[in-house]
């Protein structure tokens, strides 16, 4: 697209980004407020962070959340990548329509429906609710996001690389690990990160499927919010935001570096 950036474009971007970021910035600022009131500034203080780290129920919830996130993101990445391969590589198999529907539907499905149906499944098969049921539920809804992310990389993948490897005698499995996987790795990694943050943030599905001793951080924050707004919640939210933001920034820097390296390699190769 030709770039004629009008004043209208710039104004709409400034207003749009202010709308997107102002609430988050205010939330972070007031987590450092001296006063108990979240909306009246009384001076800088980090006391809410100190009280947060002394709050055992928050720390316990944080551990549960991290464990669920790491395990579910890993399994969701494996299953989602397989799902993406199935959708792009095998254009005809029995029930492909149903499979593609089951991958896309969870992306838009209201969480109350997914949560309720998973809970009723666990009850029907007599599975005690706890950290494992939350993990299974998270794998299920996050693997679809991974599948979509990886699929969008796979459709632009040059199949002739794989064919060359197979012609030279590599087995399909070796070809996948030596040729396909390295090429789609950035998509797989961002799929993992997406799955991890989705699991980290989920409230509704976790609340339905969790049992005693498996309170996640969003569930803890939610029950606290219902009692009233306190700077302690702002502090907890700020930490969550910081963790995710640092992760995203590191990933994008790594991505950029890889691209620069690749461009340099290509230049070097062209010179020879």
């Amino acid at each position: 697209m030709n770039t004629t950036w009008s004043r209208f474009n710039i104004v709409s971007l400034v207003i749009g980004f202010a709308f997107l970021y102002l609430p988050i910035v205010l939330l972070v600022v007031f987590s450092f407020n001296e006063s108990r009131l979240v909306t009246v500034w009384a001076g800088f203080s980090t006391k809410w962070y100190v009280s947060l780290f002394n709050n055992k129920s928050f720390i316990d919830a944080a551990w549960v959340t991290i464990r669920v996130g790491l395990i579910s993101a890993t399994f969701a990445t494996i299953l989602g990548t397989l799902g993406a391969l199935a959708l792009t590589r095998y254009t005809r198999f029995r029930g492909r329509m149903l499979f593609s529907a089951m991958i896309y539907a969870p992306l838009v499905m209201p969480e109350v429906i997914t949560g309720l149906s998973l809970l009723l499944l666990f009850v029907a098969i007599g599975f005690d609710r706890g950290i494992w049921t939350v993990t299974l539920a998270h794998i299920t809804f996050t693997m679809c996001f991974v599948a979509v992310v990886v699929q969008s990389r796979l459709v632009t993948f040059d199949r002739s690389l794989e064919e060359a490897a197979m012609d030279l005698g590599a087995t399909p499995v070796t070809t996948f690990f030596k040729v396909t996987l390295p090429v789609i790795m950035p998509a797989v990694v961002s799929g993992w990160m997406l799955a991890f943050t989705l699991s980290l943030d989920d409230l509704v599905i976790s609340s339905f499927t969790s049992g005693p001793g498996a309170t996640t951080l969003p569930m803890r924050i939610y029950s606290q919010v219902r009692l009233g707004v306190t700077p302690e919640i702002n502090a907890a939210c700020t930490i969550l935001i910081a963790v995710v933001a640092v992760g995203v920034v590191i990933a994008s820097i790594a991505n950029k570096r890889r691209e620069v390296q690749k461009a340099r390699d290509e230049q070097a190769a062209a010179r020879h």
């Binding site: 697209m1 770039t3 950036w5 209208f8 474009n9 710039i10 709409s12 971007l13 749009g16 709308f19 997107l20 970021y21 609430p23 988050i24 205010l26 939330l27 909306t39 299953l79 397989l82 799902g83 199935a86 959708l87 095998y90 029930g95 499979f99 593609s100 529907a101 539907a105 992306l107 838009v108 499905m109 209201p110 109350v112 429906i113 997914t114 309720l116 149906s117 009723l120 029907a124 539920a137 794998i139 299920t140 693997m143 979509v148 459709v155 632009t156 399909p172 499995v173 980290l200 943030d201 509704v204 969003p218 924050i221 939610y222 919010v225 707004v229 939210c237 935001i241 933001a245 995203v248």
Partner: protein, 303 residues
């Protein structure tokens, strides 16, 4: 031998995720439907009849004969539920339209930006999407409260003289939905606008077409696939939204996601909440199928 391995591998690649989704996505819906035909009782699990696989064929027939459509008749006859469905759809439709009004100029501005800033702008839109939904909704409580930051600002600027009551109204719910779902709408519109051939618009303008007419005749129709995908991504989950009406809405806010949650956790009426879920799904099945079709088509055209 090679052929055999290849066919085993391809079976595995397809069947593992397939089975997973059958067990954890499709079968649960069948269970929800089954329980929606049951009655609530004081027991664990709190519904009757329960199907006992060990009771054999006769036992199965006995349980099935106890199924009834009572929960659905109840949903249809109680105006509270009918109203909750209607107002969920209306609130979701209005907020989708508002999100489009806010989101389209952002996507358009991003697509028209110089290529060097574009990737930064893209990251700025994606970043809030990585931040917790709950946190973003929570942030608005402090802003919209009667003694909150918005009222403080408006009173200070002398725009109003008495604080506005926005929190715990439908207006707050609309603001919450627009805010939370904005990136879902901006991204697909941006990706269609970015691929668009802008010389078409220039040609129209050279031939004397006013810029606004050129926008409505060329740019907007070409961005329609993105607009449609984005609207689905906002509308479908918004109909069943629970967190936003619960935290920002008030007693006037009737939304079906909240009703389902209350029926389930406060009243412990699992059969009725299952029936609520089945009807909600029936309402959403057409938009979900349309969304899935448009996504699959978009993926095919990338090839």
């Amino acid at each position: 031998m090679q052929k055999l391995i290849a066919s085993v591998v391809s079976r595995l690649v397809i069947s593992v995720p397939y089975l997973w989704m059958l067990i954890f996505f499709l079968i649960p819906f069948i269970i929800v439907f089954k329980i929606s035909l049951s009655q609530v009782t004081m027991a664990i699990p709190p519904y009757t009849p329960t199907i006992d696989v060990w009771a054999g064929w006769q036992g199965l027939i006995n349980s099935v004969s106890q199924f009834s459509w009572d929960n659905y008749t109840f949903l249809g006859s109680d105006p509270l539920y009918v109203k909750a469905y209607l107002s969920s759809v209306i609130i979701a439709a209005i907020s989708t339209f508002l999100t489009l009004l806010v989101g389209y100029p952002i996507a358009y501005g991003m697509a028209r930006a110089p290529a060097t800033v574009r990737s930064t702008l893209l990251m700025l839109v994606i970043l809030p999407f990585w931040t917790s939904f709950l946190i973003r909704v929570y942030a608005w409580i402090g802003i919209l409260k009667p003694e909150g930051l918005l009222n403080q600002f408006l009173l200070w600027a002398n725009v109003i003289h008495t604080p506005l009551n926005i929190l715990n109204t439908n207006t707050a719910v609309l603001i919450g939905i627009v805010y939370s779902y904005l990136p879902f709408l901006v991204l697909p519109i941006y990706s269609t606008l970015e691929k668009m051939d802008y010389s078409l618009v220039e040609a129209a303008e050279d031939l004397g077409c006013p810029p606004i007419t050129a926008f409505w005749k060329i740019t907007f129709p070409l961005s329609l696939p993105g607009v449609v995908a984005g609207c689905f991504l906002v509308f479908i989950p918004a109909v069943g939204e629970f967190v936003i009406p619960d935290l920002l809405g008030g007693s006037e806010t009737l939304m079906i996601g909240k009703t389902l949650w209350n029926e389930f956790s406060a009243n412990r009426d699992w059969p009725l909440s299952s029936a609520v879920a089945v009807v909600l799904l029936a309402l959403l099945v057409v938009p979900i199928v349309l969304f899935q079709r448009s996504e699959a088509k978009a993926q095919e055209s990338e090839k």
